[in-house]
C-alpha cells in the first residue's frame, strides 16, 4: 500500500508524466466511446461536402468523398491504438516467456535462443518489419505480426536477464530443490519479479508500435480502404495537402499526440519503478 502511495507521490511530482498519463487515458476513452463521441458515421459518403474545410459542422473538415474527418480520427483510434496495443501484447507475452525459460534452462538451449535473437536484433527493425509485411501482403494484421516479431527479442533479453539474476536467489533455489517445475518457477517467481521493467518497456513500446503501424499503413502495407486508420488517412490526404491542409494534418496530429502520451508515461514509470534511477 505504501508502495503505491509512494508511486503516486512521485508521479504527482513529475508534470510531464501526468500529462502522459492524461493523454493515454483520454485516448483510451475516445477509443472505447467512439460510437458515442463521433458526430457522424465515419464511412458515410456525402458528396455534397467533399473536401470541406474545418467548420462548426465538421471540426476537422471532410475528405474527398465527404466523410467527416473528426469521426474518422475518432474511429481511427480503434485501428491504430488497438493495433499498437495488440503488437506489444504479442511480443511481450511471447518474448517474456521465451526469455524466462532461456535464462532458467541455460546450456545450449539458452545459447541457441539468444543467438537467434541476436540475428533478429541485428536487422534494422523497420526494414525487417517492412520486408515481412510486404511478403505477407497488405493488411492491418499483416502489419501487426511483423512488428511483433521484430520487438520480441527485446522482451526475451529483458526477461532472460531477470531470470539469470533471480535464478540464484535463495527462494528460487529452494523451489528448485523442492522439485518445482520450470513453468511453476517462471510463473510464481520470475514473472512477478520482472513486472516493473516489462511494464516500462511495454508502455514505451506501445508508442513505438503505434508509430510503426501507421508508418506501414502510410506506405500502403497496413490498413486498407475504407478502414479509418491514422497512417492510411495521412497517406490519402497526401494528394490533397497543398490545397486542403486539414486532411492529413489532423490524423497525423492524433498519431503524434498518442505516441507522446505513451512515451511520457513510459519515461515517468521508468524513473519511478527503476530503483537505480531513484533520487536522481
Amino acid at each position: 500500500m505504501t508502495d503505491w502511495r509512494h508511486t503516486w507521490y512521485r508521479l504527482s511530482r513529475s508534470p510531464l508524466t501526468v500529462v502522459g498519463l492524461g493523454i493515454v487515458i483520454a485516448v483510451l476513452l475516445v477509443m472505447i466511446f467512439a460510437p458515442l463521441l463521433s458526430p457522424y458515421d465515419p464511412n458515410r459518403l456525402s458528396l455534397a461536402v467533399r473536401l470541406a474545410p474545418p467548420s462548426l459542422h465538421h471540426w476537422f473538415g471532410t475528405d474527398e468523398v465527404g466523410r467527416d474527418l473528426l469521426s474518422r480520427v475518432i474511429w481511427g483510434s480503434r485501428a491504430s491504438v488497438v493495433a499498437g496495443i495488440a503488437t506489444v501484447a504479442i511480443s511481450m507475452s511471447i518474448g517474456t516467456l521465451i526469455g524466462a525459460f532461456s535464462g532458467l534452462s541455460a546450456g545450449w538451449v539458452d545459447t541457441a535462443i539468444m543467438r537467434t535473437m541476436d540475428i533478429l536484433l541485428a536487422f534494422p527493425s523497420f526494414i525487417l518489419a517492412m520486408t515481412l509485411a510486404a511478403a505477407l501482403g497488405p493488411s492491418l494484421i499483416n502489419a501487426i505480426i511483423p512488428i511483433a516479431i521484430v520487438r520480441t527479442p527485446f522482451y526475451v533479453r529483458l526477461a532472460r536477464g531477470q531470470a539469470l539474476t533471480l535464478r540464484d536467489r535463495a527462494y528460487v533455489r529452494a523451489a528448485v530443490s523442492f522439485g518445482s517445475s520450470t513453468w511453476h518457477i517462471v510463473r510464481r517467481h520470475i514473472l512477478p519479479n520482472s513486472l516493473a521493467p516489462i511494464v516500462v518497456q511495454s508502455t514505451l513500446d506501445i508508442g513505438l508500435a503505434i508509430l510503426t503501424v501507421s508508418a506501414l499503413s502510410f506506405i500502403g502495407l497496413g490498413a486498407q480502404q475504407p478502414t479509418a486508420e491514422w497512417g492510411a488517412m495521412v497517406a490519402n490526404g497526401r494528394a490533397f495537402f497543398l490545397d486542403q491542409w486539414w486532411y492529413p494534418t489532423f490524423p497525423g496530429l492524433a498519431i503524434l499526440v498518442t505516441a507522446v502520451g505513451y512515451n511520457l508515461l513510459g519515461d515517468g514509470l521508468r524513473e519511478i519503478l527503476d530503483p537505480r534511477l531513484r533520487g536522481r
Binding site: L16, R115, I119, P124, L132, G207, L211, A215, G252, A259
Partner: protein, 338 residues
C-alpha cells in the same frame, strides 16, 4: 579476458549474424505472394512463357539449391535483376545509395549539433524548466511520424512561404556535378561549382531536417543520461572542489567521458536513419534507396526489395561492428585489460 579475445568474440558473432541475416532475407523473399515469373512475363503471357520465366529465374529448383545459388551470387555482388527497372539491382543500389547517404549524413550532422547541446543543458539543469523543455523536445522527436512532419514542412516552407524547394536534389534543369562520391554537395564543392552547391544545400534542408528531427530526441536522451551519470562521479566533485570553472568541468571533463558510451548508440541510430529515410524520401521525391524500395514494394519487385533489405541489413551489421570495436579501443576500462 584479453582485449584480443573480446574482439575475436565480437567478430565471430558478427559472422554468425551476417549469415543469419542472409538466411532470413532469403526466406522472406520466398514468402512473397504473387508469382514473380508471371509478373515478369507480363499479364497476357502464355503458360509456356511463364514456365520458361520460372526456369530462367531458377524458381523451379529445390529451395536449398536456390539458396546456394543466391549465396554464390551475393558473394559476387549479383543481386539479380529488378523487375521494375530491368537493371541489375546492384547497379540500382549503386545509383541510389549516395543520395540516401548524403541525406543521412546531413540529418546526423544536424541531430548531433542540436542534440548534444540540448542533452548537456538538460543534464546540467536537471529538474529545472530547461530540463523539462529539452525533454519535451526529445519526446516529440521520438514520437514524431516522420512522413507527417515532412508533409507539414513541405506545406509551410514550400507551398505557403515559398522559400525552400519542395522536391528533388537540384534545381530543375541543373546538371549534376561531376560524380566522385555521388553526394551532390561534396561533388559540387570538389568541382568548385558554387551555384550547384547552393542548390544542393537548399534542397537538402527540408528532408535533412525531417530525418534529423527523428533521431535528435534519441541522441539528446543518450547524452542527458550519460552526462547525469558522469556528473555524479568523484572526479567531477574533486574538480569542483579544486575550483575549476563550471564550463571547464562540463566540457573538459564531463562531456568527454559522456561521449564515450554514446558512441555505441550512433551505430544503432543508423537503423532509425534507414527507417526515416524510407518515409522522408518518398515525400520529398528524394531519389534515394528509400524511394526506390517503396516503389519496388508497390510493384512486388522482389529482387529489388530483397537486394535492398540484404544490403541495408549487412551495412547495419557492419556499422555496428565498427562502432563496437571503436568503443572497445576508446574505453580505457576495456583497453586496460588488453
Amino acid at each position: 579476458m584479453s582485449l584480443l579475445h573480446i574482439v575475436r568474440r565480437r567478430l565471430l558473432l558478427a559472422i554468425v549474424v551476417v549469415f543469419g541475416v542472409i538466411v532470413v532475407t532469403f526466406i522472406v523473399s520466398r514468402l512473397i505472394p504473387g508469382d514473380p515469373a508471371r509478373l515478369m512475363a507480363g499479364e497476357h503471357a502464355s503458360r509456356e512463357t511463364v514456365q520458361h520465366m520460372r526456369h530462367v529465374l531458377g524458381l523451379d529448383r529445390p529451395l536449398p539449391v536456390q539458396f546456394a545459388v543466391y549465396l554464390d551470387k551475393l558473394v559476387h555482388g549479383d543481386l539479380g535483376v529488378s523487375i521494375r527497372t530491368e537493371r541489375p539491382v546492384s547497379e540500382d543500389i549503386r545509383r541510389f545509395f549516395p543520395a540516401t547517404i548524403e541525406l543521412s549524413l546531413a540529418a546526423l550532422l544536424f541531430a548531433v549539433a542540436a542534440g548534444v547541446p540540448l542533452g548537456v543543458l538538460s543534464a546540467v539543469f536537471k529538474d529545472t524548466w530547461v530540463d523539462q523543455a529539452a525533454r519535451a523536445v526529445s519526446v516529440i522527436g521520438i514520437s514524431m511520424p516522420a512522413f507527417w512532419l515532412a508533409l507539414l514542412l513541405l506545406d509551410f516552407f514550400y507551398n505557403w512561404l515559398g522559400i525552400l524547394p519542395g522536391t528533388g536534389r537540384l534545381d530543375e534543369g541543373m546538371a549534376a556535378p561531376p560524380a566522385v562520391t555521388g553526394m551532390f554537395t561534396v561533388d559540387a564543392l570538389l568541382a568548385g561549382q558554387w551555384q550547384t552547391l547552393r542548390s544542393a544545400l537548399v534542397h537538402l534542408a527540408l528532408p535533412g531536417f525531417t530525418l534529423g528531427f527523428v533521431i535528435l530526441g534519441i541522441i539528446m536522451r543518450q547524452i542527458r543520461s550519460a552526462m547525469i551519470e558522469v556528473l555524479q562521479e568523484d572526479y567531477i566533485r574533486t574538480a569542483r572542489a579544486s575550483g575549476l570553472s563550471s564550463s571547464r568541468i562540463i566540457f573538459g571533463h564531463a562531456l568527454r567521458n559522456a561521449l564515450i558510451p554514446s558512441v555505441t548508440m550512433l551505430g544503432l541510430t543508423f537503423g532509425d536513419l534507414l527507417y526515416g529515410a524510407v518515409l522522408t524520401e518518398t515525400i520529398f521525391a528524394w531519389p534515394g534507396m528509400g524511394n526506390y524500395v517503396i516503389q519496388s514494394i508497390s510493384f512486388l519487385d522482389f529482387p529489388s526489395i530483397m537486394g535492398f533489405a540484404v544490403i541495408a541489413s549487412l551495412a547495419y551489421v557492419l556499422i555496428n561492428l565498427a562502432v563496437d570495436l571503436t568503443y572497445m579501443l576508446l574505453d580505457p576500462q576495456i583497453r586496460e585489460i588488453g
